[in-house]
């Protein structure tokens, strides 16, 4: 089956089509998000925290159209982020743990949308809109944008821990336990980003080697892994209750080359 007809079947006639819709939307949303931040607006990797007011004016001038168009895309499509959260909340509900875990995750991550991406969109659009604004105020918008985006910590910290606890307590084997522990690694990135509220330069500033590069590497792996695992959950899901079946046999998983070497 080609990818397109596969997709069509998944979204139209598959009994799990709602789940497939949220999964494909998750992939689409994260791709769009990366393109907007890394390519169109060039706000990731982030600007330097130590720019003086005049330099921030130049920074805005440099990205004028990209900021307005890119964040326009987020203004229109940012709500798709709810699909990933809804799917994860569903995966938690499918576990043997209380629904309180699923609802906590849902609410925590949905609250996160406002400081997590709406504020940077508003601040950067306001900065790009009036290049002739007082430079001090341009820098204030610049700070608001980057700090709100990087420094929105608590919801992701507690949200990851809730997901971790649910996975480790689950008896339905929805996720492998190692992914539970990976949630802890992701939660810790929110601790590592905290010093970006304190330092204007160095490895722990919002563009720092530790606070940005290493954190983004961990977060990127985490995101890639959970998108893959969510697909696995949908394939295995019997839409019932109790333990999730294993993947149907006959499709043996290929061994990773590294695992072969070690064997």
């Amino acid at each position: 089956m080609s990818i397109v007809s596969n997709l069509r079947a998944n979204l139209r006639t598959d009994p799990k089509r709602e789940l497939w819709f949220t999964w494909y939307s998750t992939v689409a949303f994260y791709s769009l998000y990366s393109v907007v931040f890394f390519v169109i607006t060039r706000t990731q990797p982030p600007g330097k925290p130590w720019l003086d007011p005049e330099q921030t004016v130049e920074w805005f001038a440099d990205r004028h159209g990209g900021l307005l168009f890119g964040f326009g895309l987020i203004f229109v499509l940012g709500g798709w982020s709810a699909t990933a959260i809804a799917l994860i909340a569903y995966s938690i509900r499918r576990m043997s743990v209380s629904r309180a875990f699923a609802y906590s995750y849902l609410v925590l991550y949905l609250i996160a949308a406002v400081p997590g991406f709406l504020l940077i969109c508003i601040a950067m659009t306001a900065g790009a809109l009036r290049p002739d604004r007082n430079p001090e105020m341009q820098r204030w918008l610049y700070d608001l944008g980057f700090l709100s985006f990087s420094g929105t910590m608590g919801v992701f910290l507690v949200g990851s821990l809730i997901w971790m606890a649910a996975i480790l307590l689950d008896k339905n084997r929805v996720f492998p336990r190692w992914f539970g522990y990976l949630n802890l690694c992701n939660a810790l990135t929110e601790v590592v980003i905290a010093p970006s509220w304190i330092f204007q330069r160095g490895v722990l500033a919002w563009d720092g080697v530790i606070a940005w590069w290493i954190d983004v590497a961990v977060f990127g792996m985490y995101t890639g892994v959970f998108i893959y695992l969510l697909r696995d959950v949908i394939i295995r899901d019997d839409l019932g209750t109790g333990p999730l079946p294993e993947r149907p046999p006959g499709r043996p998983r290929r061994l990773h080359p590294l695992a072969k070497v070690l064997r």
């Binding site: 492998p176 336990r177 190692w178 539970g180 522990y181 990976l182 802890l184 690694c185 810790l188 601790v191 590592v192 010093p195 304190i198 330092f199 160095g202 490895v203 722990l204 080697v209 530790i210 290493i214 590497a217 961990v218």
Partner: protein, 197 residues
């Protein structure tokens, strides 16, 4: 090692090959070790860029206190390894005593860490006072967070040992693996922060 699984039944307990604890915890150990390694690399690189300033700030550290601290944590690691041995032999009360000793030694380590931090801060060496201190407080702070999470693991362990209905050797070994990891990170942090010049 090529021997099939069935033959291991005849071997003495010591010779059986088995993963200590659940394999998933080993994934965490490996992954988080790489993250810490990345932090160390950043620190070592930036240290070489301004060795004078790093050495000066580093001289404020109290090495004997750090060594005592290290020995306390190594001893806690030994105690939990003994605890696993006792649990494996079915001597649960002894295992429980050793687990409580581990918690005590972990708490002692944390108390010494607090003393060290307070002394440094009183001496004007804070998170923001120099590049070295920034790395110092960051790395020791991250380690302390892992240590505090370790108390949760030890709590689960004691809980398991206390109740005959719950005892699962795998869970006991998983918790102990986590605790050893806390020790491992400290061994590396101690070397790069206190000894490296």
């Amino acid at each position: 090692m090529a021997a099939p699984d069935t033959s291991t039944a005849d071997l003495p307990d010591e010779e059986i090959e088995r993963v200590p604890g659940e394999g998933d915890m080993w994934f965490f150990v490996l992954f988080e070790s790489l993250v810490f390694t990345a932090y160390f690399c950043v620190y070592l690189y930036f240290r070489t860029q301004d060795e004078r300033a790093f050495l000066e700030a580093q001289s404020a550290l109290n090495l004997p206190l750090g060594i005592v601290d290290t020995i306390v944590l190594l001893t806690s690691s030994w105690a939990i390894a003994r605890c696993v041995q006792e649990a494996r032999a079915g001597r649960y009360p002894a295992a429980r005593r050793l687990a409580l000793a581990t918690i005590g030694l972990g708490a002692a380590f944390f108390a010494l860490k607090l003393v060290e931090w307070v002394n440094l801060i009183r001496g004007g060496h804070t998170f923001t006072s120099s590049d070295f201190m920034q790395h110092f407080f960051f790395l020791t702070g991250m380690h302390a967070i892992h240590l505090l999470i370790g108390f949760v693991a030890l709590g689960i362990l004691v809980h398991q040992l206390s109740d005959p209905q719950r005892r699962s050797q795998e869970t006991i070994e998983t918790c102990s693996t986590y605790w050893h990891t806390v020790d491992l990170y400290w061994v590396l942090i101690f070397a790069v922060l206190y000894i490296v010049r």
